[in-house]
């Protein structure tokens, strides 16, 4: 880590910044929680939380918003990691929100529970009285996220107001809120997709198997490869075929596409990403394709 001329590598700078942010939250909020989906960004975030408080355990619970349409090996990975850390996991279930009549299941070919997650997430934040919620979002992912603060204020309704954000200077974060409001905190704001993978390699962190090349039954929609699964509605003309793919992002099966790839190791994934000409959300997320401001609109409602 150390060099005689006091330079610090980019991963060390990013890690130090993220640790500082986590400790700031632990010191200033009463009931933080960390969103953990089993995806690569939240896996990195969890490792940073481990580092920030070592040798003490992570001083807040984890939360997963489960659409019920997640990849099974990601859920297994999630539970294994939680057990290893002896952490507390809150699972907020979209199915329960549907059963309780809080949201209505979408129908049709493009039915997805992606948007329904917002209600489930906000209900859980309210129920558990969480005042700070860590998310693994990065500014390089999407243009609305490029504008978002590290400490991002949410009002009583969980809404983000992009035109009225608190200025954020130096490493001083404003943690003041009223009861019922909360702050979304993004410790990985300044990381890029490549930084995440470089860090996974450097730290030797385990990730779910679907990130690596595997044979899968898929069908094509809008230039994306969606998994053939009971929860993904499909037309007869959308033909299923078997090919070698991997996932670049991990989300709900109904809106997360796979990419054709033979990358079977972290090193091969890094080489692939360094050469790619398409962003990860552009390649794999149907939810961002509905309009130019799709992410901004969902974030205003309280999305991740």
């Amino acid at each position: 880590m150390l060099q005689s001329d006091y330079t610090t590598s980019q991963l060390d700078v990013l890690e130090a910044e993220a640790i500082h942010i986590m400790r700031e939250v632990a010191a200033e909020f009463e009931r933080p929680c960390l969103l953990f989906s089993g995806g690569k960004d939240s896996i990195v975030m969890l490792r940073i939380a481990e580092k920030a408080f070592w040798p003490a355990p992570i001083p807040f619970p984890l939360m997963h918003v489960d659409t019920g349409h997640n990849f099974s090996d990601v859920i297994e990975f999630r539970d294994r990691r939680v057990a290893e850390l002896n952490a507390r996991l809150v699972v907020a279930s979209v199915q329960s929100s549907i059963d309780a009549g809080r949201v209505v299941e979408e129908t049709g070919r493009r039915a997805s529970r992606n948007r329904l997650q917002t209600t489930t997430l906000l209900d859980a934040i309210e129920e558990h009285e969480f005042d700070a919620v860590f998310g693994g979002a990065r500014r390089d992912e999407e243009k609305a996220r490029a504008k978002e603060r590290v400490f991002s204020f949410r009002d009583d309704f969980g809404q983000w107001d992009p035109k009225n954000q608190r200025p954020e200077l130096w490493n001083l974060y404003n943690a003041r809120i009223r009861k019922g409001e909360h702050i979304r905190v993004f410790p990985l704001s300044n990381w890029t997709e490549l930084d995440i993978w470089d860090y996974i390699r450097r730290e030797g962190i385990e990730i779910p198997s679907i990130y690596f090349a595997h044979t899968r039954k898929v069908f094509e929609r809008d230039g994306m490869l969606l998994a053939d699964d009971d929860v993904v509605n499909r037309d007869e003309e959308e033909l299923v075929f078997e090919t070698v793919v991997r996932y670049r992002t991990v989300g709900d099966m109904t809106c997360t596409g796979a990419v054709q790839s033979n990358a079977a190791t972290v090193e091969e994934i890094i080489a692939e990403i360094a050469a790619t000409r398409i962003t990860e959300r552009g390649a794999t997320r149907a939810d961002d394709r509905t309009s130019e401001a799709a992410m901004e609109d969902r974030k205003k409602e309280g999305y991740f």
Binding site: T7, K143, P167, N171, L172, A293
Partner: protein, 420 residues
């Protein structure tokens, strides 16, 4: 590979978006789907060229109005370095956003249109850069293609700006003649300006030495969080007590004699702990956990320093404040929350000495208050002692934010110039 954070200020007219677009494009940080989206939007709007500002202007309101409202962060990397760009709006009504972007920047690029020369806006940007103590300033004289790549014109601008900069505290100033549109001197040296002996802009960004910009002299460790494992699985950690924080200055080593503030008690560093094992030294911006040899009552907001090199312990501060609130003004008797390092207190404004005209640097001593985007020198009385340095000496122990207790909004940014 290390990181360089730089801020750019300006409007579309200066060619700022074109410059950023070119840096991102030539370093392959713009992706095909992003470019397609920008091309599609440009076409839909009837723009004849691909408007690269659509890449950075991420909010709906910004795209609708065709202006940059807020700071956008962009990322690119070359084999030499990773870069974080804080792309800030240039207009005077967005001074607070430029101040925000400059607060963490290692370098700032101020763009000048070669045809217009040094204008009010360039002077304001340069002033804000030096107020925020951005260590390196690059004057990019853009649109050289429109003045026939004239050395004479470039030298005129250089002389005019140099005489203005003499009034500012600029530590490192570099002039580079460029054409962002044609790529002259952006990534590689231009053949159109053989008279220019310097490096290209990207070469300058890649090779600038920034490690020594940090304060490696004055040990400053604001205590952020106390780590006491309550249910440690390993009995070895049962009595563990560590002080977690991010080093704000100096170099700490095990065995060093250190002083705790506010108590003034001295002890030694027993160990510098991290998850990955103990360290032999720690310096900014590392996040570490210190263990000390003696049991001292230490909590968040306290400071660890060296006995022979202490910050000021002060309740009376003089600071340059940039006011950021659009619904209240800052004047004598204003009461606010102040957050400085890891310590939060309340502050009372005792005096507003002057308001600074950021265009002319004229000091208006009769100003009754500071409004949105205005900058002035104020005296504050704080309810509990802060451990401060002059901002010029250390940006992390010399900067603070002001918070409005009624709205909880961040309404001011301060840079300490004097403390008692």
């Amino acid at each position: 590979m290390d990181i360089l954070r730089f801020a750019t200020a300006g409007s579309v007219d200066d060619g700022k978006s074109t410059l950023i677009g070119r840096l991102l494009f030539d370093s392959k940080a713009i992706f095909e789907d992003q470019l397609e989206a920008v091309e599609r939007t440009s076409r839909d709007r009837g723009t004849e060229y691909t408007d690269l500002s659509l890449l950075t202007d991420g909010l709906r309101a910004e795209r609708e109005q065709g202006i940059t409202i807020d700071v956008a962060y962009r990322y690119f990397a070359t084999p030499k370095r990773k870069f974080i760009i804080a792309d800030t709006p240039g207009h005077i009504q967005y001074t607070r956003n430029m101040v925000t972007g400059a607060s963490t920047a290692d370098l700032a690029i101020v763009l000048i249109d070669a045809r217009k020369g040094v204008v009010e806006q360039s002077r304001r940007h340069a002033f804000l850069t030096t107020l925020l103590r951005v260590p390196h300033l690059v004057l990019a004289v853009n649109k050289m293609d429109l003045v026939d790549y004239s050395q004479e014109r470039f030298e005129e601008i250089r002389e005019e700006f140099t005489s203005f900069a003499a009034k500012l505290n600029v530590s490192d100033l570099t002039f580079i003649p460029i054409s962002a549109l044609h790529g002259d001197n952006v990534v590689s040296r231009s053949e159109n300006m053989p008279w220019y002996q310097g490096t290209s802009l990207l070469h300058h960004l890649e090779h600038l030495h920034i490690a020594s910009d940090r304060n490696l002299v004055d040990v400053r460790f604001p205590v952020q969080y106390v780590i006491r494992p309550q249910r440690a699985t390993d009995p070895a950690f049962h009595d563990y007590r560590g002080y977690a924080g991010q080093v704000a200055g100096g170099v700490l080593k095990p065995g060093d004699e250190v002083m705790h503030l506010p108590s003034g008690l001295t002890t030694r560093v027993a160990a510098i702990d991290t998850f990955d094992g103990p360290l032999e030294e720690a310096f900014a911006p590392m996040s570490v956990t210190l263990r000390l040899e003696d049991d001292i009552d230490i909590s968040r907001g306290d400071m660890i320093c060296r006995p022979n090199n202490q910050p000021q312990v002060a309740q009376d501060l003089d600071a340059m404040v940039c006011w950021m609130s659009d619904n209240m003004k800052l004047g004598p008797r204003s009461k606010l929350v102040i957050k400085h390092t890891t310590r939060t207190a309340r502050a009372l404004v005792r005096d507003l000495h002057y308001r600074l005209d950021v265009n002319t640097l004229h000091r208006d001593e009769s100003a009754p208050a500071l409004g949105l985007n205005e900058i002035g020198r104020v005296s504050l009385r704080v309810t509990q002692p802060l451990f401060v340095d002059d901002y010029a000496r250390n940006r992390l122990t010399g900067g603070f934010i002001l918070i409005d207790e009624a709205t909880n909004g961040t309404v001011g940014a301060g840079m300490i110039v004097d403390a008692r």
